[in-house]
Every structure is written in C-alpha cells, then in structure tokens.
Amino acid sequence: MASSGSEGLYTLRHRPPSDKLVDQSFRFLVTALAALVAIILFAIFLVVTLDAREAIAKFGLGFLVNSTWNPSTENFGAFTAIYGTLLTSALALLLAIPLGVGTAIFLTENFIPSRYRTIIGNLVELLAAIPSVVLGLWAIFVLEPVLRPLLQLIHRLLGWIPFFSTMPTGPGVMPAVLILVIMVLPIITAISRDSLNQVPPDLRQAAYGVGATRWTSIFKVLLPAAISGIIGGVMLALGRALGETMAVTMIIGNSNNFTLSWFAPGNTISALLANQFGEADGLQVHALMYAALVLMIITFIVNVLAQWIVKRLSLKYS
C-alpha cells in the first residue's frame, strides 16, 4: 500500500517550515513559563533557607518552642508567633466555616427569589475586594471599640477560663480573629456555593423522592456530595488566614509575650515579620528568616494536605 504522499487519504497535510517553527517555539515558550513557576518557588525557598541558616544553626528546633523574643540579648524563639498564627487561623475557621457554608446553603436553596440571592452572593464576594489595610483600619476604629464591651462582659463572666483571663483594653487576638473571619468568609462562601450548585439536581429529587425533608436532604445528601469542594475552599481559606499580614498586624497588638488569653495582644509570624524587618539587623534578620521559613512550611503542609483530602473525598463520590 505505497501511496504517494500527496494523494493518500490519511497522510499529513504539508506544512510550511515557518508553521513548524511557530509550533516549536510556542511549545518551548510555554515549557519555559511552566518551569519558571517551579524555579521561582524553589528560589524563594532557597533564599529564605540560606538567610535563616545562621539562626537555624544557633537555635535549632528549640526556636519553635522558645517564647522569648529579645533583640537586645539576641535570644530568639518564635513560639508566641507560631502559636498566634495557628490559633488565629483555627479560631477564624471555626467561626467562618458555619457562617460561610450556611450562607452557601442559603444561596443555593430557594428561600428567597433568585434575584435577591444573586445580589447577596455578589455582596459576599465583594468582601474579598476590600484591601486588607482598609479592613485593618476598620478593625482599629470600628470593630474593636464596638466589640470591646462585649469582650469585657465575657471576661467578667468567664474570666476564670484561661482563654478569657485578660481584661480586653484594645488591640488583641480576638479582634484579629474576627477580621480574619471577614477576610476568609468570601472564599468559603463562594467555593461552597459553587460546589453545592454542582451537585446534580437528580440527587435532590432522589432525596425528596424517598421522603426526606429539606434539612435532611441538605445535611445527609447535598453537603456530603459537595464536601470535597467545600473542604477545598476551607483549605484555601486556611492558607489565606495563615499568611494574612496587614490587617492582622494592625489589630493584633504585636506582643511577643506568650499568654493563653485570647483577649490579650498577641502576634503571628507574618505580623512579626512585617513589624520587625525594617529595623532588624544581624542575628535578628536571620531569626526572622527562620520564622518565615516556618510559615512557608506550615502553608506548604496545609496545601498538600488540602489536595490530598480533596482527592480522597472526590474519588469516593465519582
């Protein structure tokens, strides 16, 4: 079956050399761009690690559990900041998940006409468009003063619990948590809403068809079916909360004294970096770099964990 090239039905059409060149250079270009992403990520890791080297050598893993941060004696430990980072993120998620998923349920059910739902959905997403420095200012001048009497009341009533043991008098961990809630809420809401919208309508009918009430079908059928997406959104929100700098720095109080109380000033790794980098020199720079490395590793772990969970859960429902 030796047909000549130009007549055969299935032979490749002739392409001019310039065509092939364009093809090849485009492939080269996108490969380079894709590689660049990996290179940049790796480079950042490398530079931070190199800069942190001296601090790592001096403090070792004790850095993670030492709560002293004293530039004059050059004794540095990031425990307060690490604890603050994990605590603010965890508390923020604890509040934002029910709020965000609840909003998503509200927006995907027919409690009110769809035109109002669209408006509310857009408003929630607009929250994400507010610059964090503006949220920080708002936290200082509005949120914290308004919240203070309530926090003081909680302190008076429940002050015997270590978490509420400080009299709230200004910036502190709790206002920072609430500002984080506002910042991660649009992420959780938008992604949960999209995941719920992607649940096939057949499933809702199936649930109603066997006599499920609206709430049974939401909690036993729709949410489980959308759970991988929702968890993905929560993990993205966690990543945002862990790394959020500006608004938190403005309202958390930036204290490096460790305390269990949620009403006292505290610190996070990113707030620590933002505050001290300007005036730091010598070992302090290296210690800050070490703290930055810790933060990167934490967010890296969160991301890997998120992808793992999403993959696991979505396989179950495929």
């Binding site: 027919n110 006409p113 096939p200 057949d202 499933l203 809702r204 009918q205 199936a206 649930a207 109603y208 068809g209 066997v210 006599g211 499920a212 009430t213 049974t216 036993k220 059928v221 489980p224 079916a225 179950k316 429902y317 495929s318």
Partner: protein, 271 residues
C-alpha cells in the same frame, strides 16, 4: 376544541388517586388542562402520549415533586385516600413517604449500596432489622444477586440498569403505597429494560404503580390501564397545552380506542 372529561368507571373502593379537574400551570403558561382521572389501586397504570403532552407533569403532581419548581401552580383537586394532596394542611414530605418515585435517569445517592437503601428507610422511621430490609428490598427489585457481594461499595459502581433497580429497591424500602415511575427505562438498554419490567410485574402485587413511558410496547407489556395524553396548540397561547384524551383498560386503548387521536397515536401515525 373540547377537552375530554370522561372518567372510566373504576369502582370507588378500588381508586387510589383521583384527579378532579386538574389544571397545572407554570407561571402564566398552562401545561395541562382539565384532567379527570381515577388511578386504580393495585394495578399498573401507564401514561402515554407525545412529548409535551403533560404526562410527566401530572405524574409529578401525585407526590408533589413539582413543588420544587417556583412558578408551578395547580387548580382542581388530586385526592389520595380521601385526602386532597394540595390542601394547605398537607405536608409534602408525608405525601412523598406514601407515594414514592423512581426517576427517569438512575439517581442513586453517592453512598454505598447498603446506605442507599437504608437512608430512606431510616428517615421514614424504620426501626426493624436493617440488614434484612436491605436484602428484602434488593431481592424484590431483582438486583440482589448483583449487589450481595458488594453492599459496601458505591452505588455508582453498578451499571445503569442495576442502578435503576437499586433506585426501585430504595423506593420499596420506604414502604410506600404507590410507586410513581417517570420513564424509568428511557436511559436503559433493552435487557435492563426487560429486567425492570419483570420487577414491575412482581411489584404490582403489593403496590399501585403509575408509569410514564414513551415506549408504547412497554405500556402494553406492563400496564393494566392506560391513559393517553395529547397536546394541542391553543389560540393566543405561548405553547401547546396538554390534556387527557382517553383512559381505559390497556387492551382497549391499543385495540379498540374510542378517540380518533388515540387510534392515530397507537398506530404510530404521529408522536
């Protein structure tokens, strides 16, 4: 044009569901007009007719599935066991517990085969032996042999036909009185279709079954009674409005219909 309004003479005590002058609208659009119908208990009743004639719409009113559509409204009365299903005091959830439904496309829950059955039974307050109920339901839906070794696997691991019989089993497990089937075989291959039909023959001993089908041979094979719906364009209307043309024993509908339109439809001249 006059709409047919006759009711076949099903004795009162054998009637499961009665439609009294039922008109169903979506917004300003009338989908089905003036349906009078008496669905007999313990039999299989088939709804046939061309697309857009409203047969599925009527079926989905029997367990208030259309409540999910915001613009839906219904005039007239649908009476089940002496109770108007659309009376204000009626809880649609209770209606759906007594009148179950199998849908056009198999729609198992994203849960294990076992849970697919157990879920409905549990929310309906079943407190007996769940393992036994699961086995019994799957057996009655003729899908036990395919499922018995993988009850803990996802419902999606089954083929389309098996999934549909799983959905039938799920409906049986909630122990309804009536089972509605909305074109249950339209997404299935002929062999799966046959199995579902065999299942239906088995089920009509205990349940009243109403089935919507596009397949006239299927109506002949499975049903005792057949209702033929048609659609006509109305003056000044935006689309066609469906109406019930004729309701009779299946043999009469296919061999000796009273209406011209029925004759033309069952002999394949339109639709």
């Amino acid at each position: 044009m006059t709409f047919s309004t006759h009711i076949t003479d099903v004795p009162d005590e054998q009637v499961a569901i009665t439609c009294e002058d039922v008109t169903i609208s979506y917004g300003a659009f009338e989908a089905v007009k003036s349906v009078f119908l008496e669905v007999p208990r313990g039999k299989v009743t088939a709804f046939i007719g061309p697309s857009g004639c409203g047969k599925s719409t009527v079926l989905r009113c029997f367990n208030r599935m259309n409540d999910l559509i915001p613009s839906f409204s219904l005039k007239g009365r649908i009476i089940y066991e002496g109770q108007d299903l659309y009376a204000k005091a009626v809880d649609p959830v209770e209606v759906r517990r007594r009148i179950g439904m199998v849908f056009q496309r198999p729609n198992p829950f994203p849960k294990s085969i076992y849970e697919n059955i157990a879920f409905g039974a549990r929310i309906n307050g079943y407190t007996g032996d769940m393992d036994e109920l699961v086995e019994r339901s799957l057996r009655r839906a003729a899908v036990w042999d395919e499922c018995k070794d993988k009850l803990q696997e996802s419902g999606y691991s089954l083929s389309g036909g098996q999934q549909q019989r799983l959905c039938i089993a799920r409906t049986i497990a909630t122990q309804p009185d009536v089972i509605l089937m909305d074109e249950p075989c339209s997404a299935l291959d002929p062999i799966s279709t046959l199995k579902v039909e065999e299942t239906m023959h088995e089920l009509k001993k205990d349940f009243t079954i109403v089935i919507v089908t596009h397949n006239m041979q299927q109506a002949v094979r499975v049903s005792d009674m057949t209702a033929f719906y048609n659609a006509v364009a109305v003056e000044g209307g935006t689309g066609k409005v469906g109406y019930l043309v004729e309701f009779d024993e299946t043999a009469n509908i296919f061999n000796n219909p009273r209406q011209q339109a029925t004759q033309e439809y069952v002999s394949g001249r339109f639709g």
